[in-house]
Every structure is written in C-alpha cells, then in structure tokens.
Amino acid sequence: MLIDSYSYTNRMYNVHPVEKLLFAFLTMILCFKFDAYTNIAVIILMFVVTVFKAKIPAKVYIKLMLIPYSFLIISILTLVINVVEDKSIALVSFNIFGITLGITAKGVSTAIILFFRALAVVSCLYFLALTTPVVDIINVLKKFKFPSLFLELLQLIYRFIFVLIQAADDIYISQDSRLGYATLKNGYRSLGLLISSLFIKSYKDS
C-alpha cells in the first residue's frame, strides 16, 4: 500500500490537513468550471507540488496516473464513436452491418475537454491521497461533525484493512513456499484457499 505509506512520510505531512483538503477540493472545482488549458495547468501544478514539494518520486506519481487509463480510453472511445447519419460531418467513419459509425469534430472537442478534466481532477485526488494520511482526514471529518458511528466504522475498517493485508501477505508467502503458485492450476486452488481462510480468520477475530 504505497500511497498510504507515502502519506505518512512525505515532506508535506506536517502541513495542516484542512489546508491540503481545501487546496485539493478548490482546485477540483476549478477544473470543472474552466477549459482544457486550465486543466492542463492544473495537471502540471499538481505534478510540481506533489513531486517537488512533497517529494513523492516522479516515477511513483506517473505510475499512479496510469491507473485510470484503461477506463479513460475505453469510455472516451465509447463516447466519441457514434452513429452518423451524414457522412460529411464525420472526420472518420466506417460501416458495420450497414450502419455508419464515425467520429465528429464536436465529439473530438468534447473528448479532449473530458480527457484533460478527468486527468486534472485525478491529479488533485493524488495530491490529497499522497500527502494527507487517512488518520488526518478522519480527524477533519470529525471536526465537521460527521456522525460518530460512520467515523468509528471508517477507523475500524482502515485499521482492519492492514491487519487483513498482513494476513493475506503471510498466507501468500506460506503458500508460495510450498509451491502453491508453481503452476496456474495450483495458483487458482491456493488463491481460493487464501480468500476463504482470510474470511474465516476475520470472522473469528471479530
């Protein structure tokens, strides 16, 4: 859980969490209100702040930026490829089963706006996640009077996530040591055992 460990060790760890939250959220809103150029500026800004001020390795940051790409590309392609009635307004077009599909100039401009906006907002999220520990975020929510049951569950789940990840890790190593992942077939069986034993363990501990 790389993001979590950076959130406690980055150079902006000591900046007040409310300031970081405000910075991230206000910039997010900005992204929705202005054009693609603003969004490109935000992407650059967040990269500079996160990598140079908070000292998150650029490699890590770029790797994170790649996570939503499959969603982004597939969704945008789905959006821009449309049925076109008039072939002349399409920039590109092709026929399938007698239907003409194509991409229009308007579609492309929408796609560009959407593409940069999503990346800009994502970079705000990454700034927040990489610099602000979950513990601090929960404390801020407490100040904003979120219901105590909700906050308690938030804390319990956060804590137990690490207990279970540790357990899953230990089981995995133990299985791997006994050749549990030596073949694909072994791997399926081992993972099934891992999941069910993890469930039983957490059920028993609670």
Binding site: I3, Y158, L191
Partner: protein, 229 residues
C-alpha cells in the same frame, strides 16, 4: 462440485480483462452537476443505513467489529490480484456476499467507506464520483442481491441458486447502473441517452458478464464454507 465451481470461477476471472476496474467511474469523469445529483441520491440510503446499523449495534456491540472486518475484507478482496497467464487481473466485488450477510442498508454504509478507501489508497474511483459509484455498487447492487436472495428462498428455491443469482444479478445490475449514469451524463449526439446507454451496455456486456458469473460462483462457495463452520 466445489472444485469445478472454483475452477470455473477463476477461469472466468482470468478471461475477463483489466477493465474489471472500470466499474468504478474514474475521478473527474462525470460533470459536476451529475456528481452532486448522485451524491444527493445516495445520501438517504446511507443515512437509513447508519440508523439501521446504529440500532443493531446497540443490541449487539460486537456487530461493530464484525462490520469493520466485513468492510476491510471487501477492500482487501478488491486489492487481491489473481494470477494469470496474460498478467492481467480482476477483482471480486463482494457486493452480493455482503448484502446476503448484512442486509442492503448496512452495505450502503460499508460500500461507501470501501469506495472512499479505494479512491484514497488504491486510486480506484474518486471523490467527485463517490456518490455515483456508491449508488451503483453500494445501493443498487446490494438491494437487488438481497431481494433476489429473499425472493428465491421464499419461492422455495435451493440456497445455492438463490446465492448464485443474487450475487451475479446484483453484479450485473451494478454495471447497468454505471452505464445508465454514464449515458445520462453523456447522451449521444444522435440517438441521445438511449444510444449512449446501449453503447456502454455493449462494452460492459462483453467484459462484465463473465465476471458476474464468476462472482456468483465464488459467493456460493464462500457461503457454503461459512455455513459449514
């Protein structure tokens, strides 16, 4: 029987490509208006969920720990990588399992929390799309699962069938909701909402149906194992 089910489940998870993540609408993808609409739509369910949990916790304080572990389990499950030849991976959602064990309203709260942590710790989904994702994954899916399960049980159907259909249809309805959310935010130039909805449904059908089936099989297995303990 258990063995072939497990194998089929994993084989299907294997075939399904990485787009499994795409059930989460990514951060910043929905227009601000729709972010707020889905936040507002999810809120009442979460509030009712909190009230329900509060009542139950007062009767049985240990339930809080159990819910904590359930939420953490769902998160860890989604973070597990399934080994495969192609190196791609997919992730069970645990939506149906949770709904059957804890009821749909508790799941709205747990689901919201898990989605928040997925955004903050794994960079899946996002804060602005939290409401929309909660609505599809923590409200529609669990409610569907729960009532399908109850319905089939009431009609005298076998337990495994009830669990299987609850989990897999719950999963499918989650994708349908996601498609709906994307389509209504981005209607097609020609054909409007309907055309857009069909496009997204088409994409999801290819990728998510095998996932839904494998999730159903896995859930049957886990429920069976639990009842044997």
């Amino acid at each position: 029987m258990k063995k072939w089910m497990l194998l089929t489940a994993f084989a299907l998870l294997l075939i399904a490509p990485q787009i499994a993540y795409s059930m989460h609408i990514m951060e910043g993808f929905l227009p601000l208006k729709w972010c707020i609409i889905w936040d507002a739509a999810s809120l009442p369910f979460v509030v009712v969920g909190l009230i329900t949990i509060n009542k139950k916790v007062k009767e049985n304080p240990k339930l809080k720990m159990l819910l904590g572990f359930a939420g953490a389990f769902a998160f860890v499950l989604s973070a597990l990588k399934i080994p495969s030849v192609t190196g791609s991976c997919s992730h069970p959602t645990g939506v149906g399992l949770g709904a059957i064990l804890f009821g749909p309203f508790a799941m709205s709260v747990l689901g919201l929390i898990v989605l928040l942590f997925q955004a903050l710790l794994l960079a899946h989904g996002g804060i602005t799309t939290l409401g929309a994702n909660t609505f599809s994954m923590a409200i529609v899916g669990p409610i569907a699962s729960y009532y399908i399960f109850k319905g089939i049980k009431k009609a005298g159907g076998p337990n495994w069938l009830a669990v299987f259909l609850a989990a897999s249809i719950g999963d499918l309805l989650t994708y349908v909701t996601t498609s709906f959310q994307l389509a209504i935010a981005f209607p097609a130039e020609v054909g409007g909402f309907t055309a857009s909805f069909l496009k997204f449904m088409g994409i999801f059908a290819v990728t998510q149906v095998p996932l839904a089936i494998s999730e159903g099989l896995l859930t049957v297995l886990v429920i069976n194992m639990l009842s044997s303990y």
